[in-house]
Amino acid sequence: MAIEVRIPTILRTYTAGEKAVNGDGGTLAALIDDLESNHAGIKDRLIDNGDLRRFVNIYVNDEDVRFLGGLEAELKDGDQVVVLPAVAGGAR
């Protein structure tokens, strides 16, 4: 079973510079745990207090996981997962 995960520039320090890595898991939470086992530290950049970080976007097959159940989003072999930091900020 393999799910391709696209890694943004800012998190490639955890993947030895790789733009994409393979992982597996039946849910997004399981996939992130699997990534953590090979790329220690990455989980903390995606999850805060047991939930997805507000300013990290994760997509499964081009759909924002917030609309797919968040960490409970179901995954299957061949899915493509994309991680993108939000582009956000402002004077506030």
Partner: protein
């Protein structure tokens, strides 16, 4: 140093003035590793706010997939401050997710939607550290190679 064409500079300023008093945002993409801000993409501020900006998550995915297909990266990430100086806020620093980009800040606080000069500054934001850099506005980017 940020080297940017006059046309791109003017387009960023025009976008900031048009969207005032809300914050305007966008990127200038260029070939990976080139440090050439070639292709301006105005983004919608999904927050629609005078004190916050955020790219819509669907727009963000489309933008990054398009850049990926073209072997581009975000060379400049710009946004405006509409009531405060053109300097990265605590929020800007906390959320800066492109360590290779030039973060351009424009302030429209003085003239708003009207003609008149704006503050236009450029920064690197890496690991929470802000470094201001010089800006060179050129008639056109020099030919590649």
């Amino acid at each position: 140093m940020l080297t940017i064409s006059r046309a791109t500079y003017d387009a960023i300023v025009a976008h900031a003035k048009r969207d005032h008093p809300d914050e305007a945002c966008g990127i200038v993409a260029g070939p990976e590793g080139s440090d050439r801000p070639e292709r301006l993409i105005e983004m919608v501020n999904a927050a629609g706010s005078p004190t916050f900006y955020e790219f819509d998550s669907t727009d963000l995915l489309h933008l990054y997939k398009e850049m990926d297909a073209r072997d581009e990266e975000p060379v400049v990430v710009y946004h405006s401050h509409t009531a405060t100086e053109a300097y990265p806020s605590v929020t800007d620093v906390k959320l800066a997710g492109e360590p290779n980009a030039h973060y351009v800040l424009v302030s429209t606080r003085e003239h708003g939607n009207a003609d008149g000069p704006v503050e236009f500054r450029s920064f690197r934001i890496v690991d929470g550290e802000i470094t201001e850099e010089e800006i060179s506005v050129v008639a056109a980017l020099s030919p590649v190679g």
